[in-house]
Symmetry: C2
Subunit: 164 residues, 2 copies
Amino acid sequence: MNSSIALEIGVPEAGEAERIVAIARHAGVFSPEEVDTVHELVQEHFQLGAERSGYYFIVARDERDLLGFACYGPRPLTLGTFDLYWIVVAPRVGQRGIGTTLLERVMHDVRAAGGRLLVAETSGLPDYLPAREFYDRHSFRRAARIADFYAPGDDLVLFVKRLG
Amino acid sequence: MNSSIALEIGVPEAGEAERIVAIARHAGVFSPEEVDTVHELVQEHFQLGAERSGYYFIVARDERDLLGFACYGPRPLTLGTFDLYWIVVAPRVGQRGIGTTLLERVMHDVRAAGGRLLVAETSGLPDYLPAREFYDRHSFRRAARIADFYAPGDDLVLFVKRLG
């Protein structure tokens, strides 16, 4: 019955902040420090607004619950380069194209804001294989791999997508 | 008489904040927005301290004046990766090894703080050739080049140095 889900994509309401953090926590791949970072960015987003904070959020919901979120923002000191900081879907609703739907909305909004490049950083660890495959599938280019960037044995894989 | 300069390397005093910004302004390669960023980082450094701000400064002085500065800090969410944000020498005192002396002090301090990798981002534009040659000369690896990253026609060149 997955195809019958009525998915709503939009900006989060303040009451959804905790649910966004919970999705990051339950994703199973982020460290407590990374989950804390999501919490901080959500708070800055709601306190200052997207433009002043630099953190834009997009969420996906069905009629019952928030199912995933993306966070992106302009890279300071560039003209048209945006960072895709997070794109996370609740594990139990995976494989329904929610990640793709979030990414498409991010790309649409970034283009509308004059964005030309979208940059995503992820880990080279086995746990992040789905993330790397997600970016490959959506035609991001692997621009670099930096060994031991996050920690010894934990490489950075840098993805770049040029927005048409 | 260059070799007779008595160079002092250390952390800046609060009274030197404006001089640091002036050196960035007079370097001739930074945009007003980039100079403003140096100003903001210096202010955060003095208001919060290096550890809380995340911005560490090293300066080089002779007996008369401040001659150059470097700014670096730990990359959030990594264990042992540091960003070298700026390394700038006053133009009229170039070619005296001040940049090298600043970099050596940065590498020393980063190692002492448990750093393993030092990352420097610079532009692919002709004006930044001396910067790129500086990093090449000091055995940074060119990890990536991202076309049009800073602006159309203005590429990012990403340098990484592994600290022994």
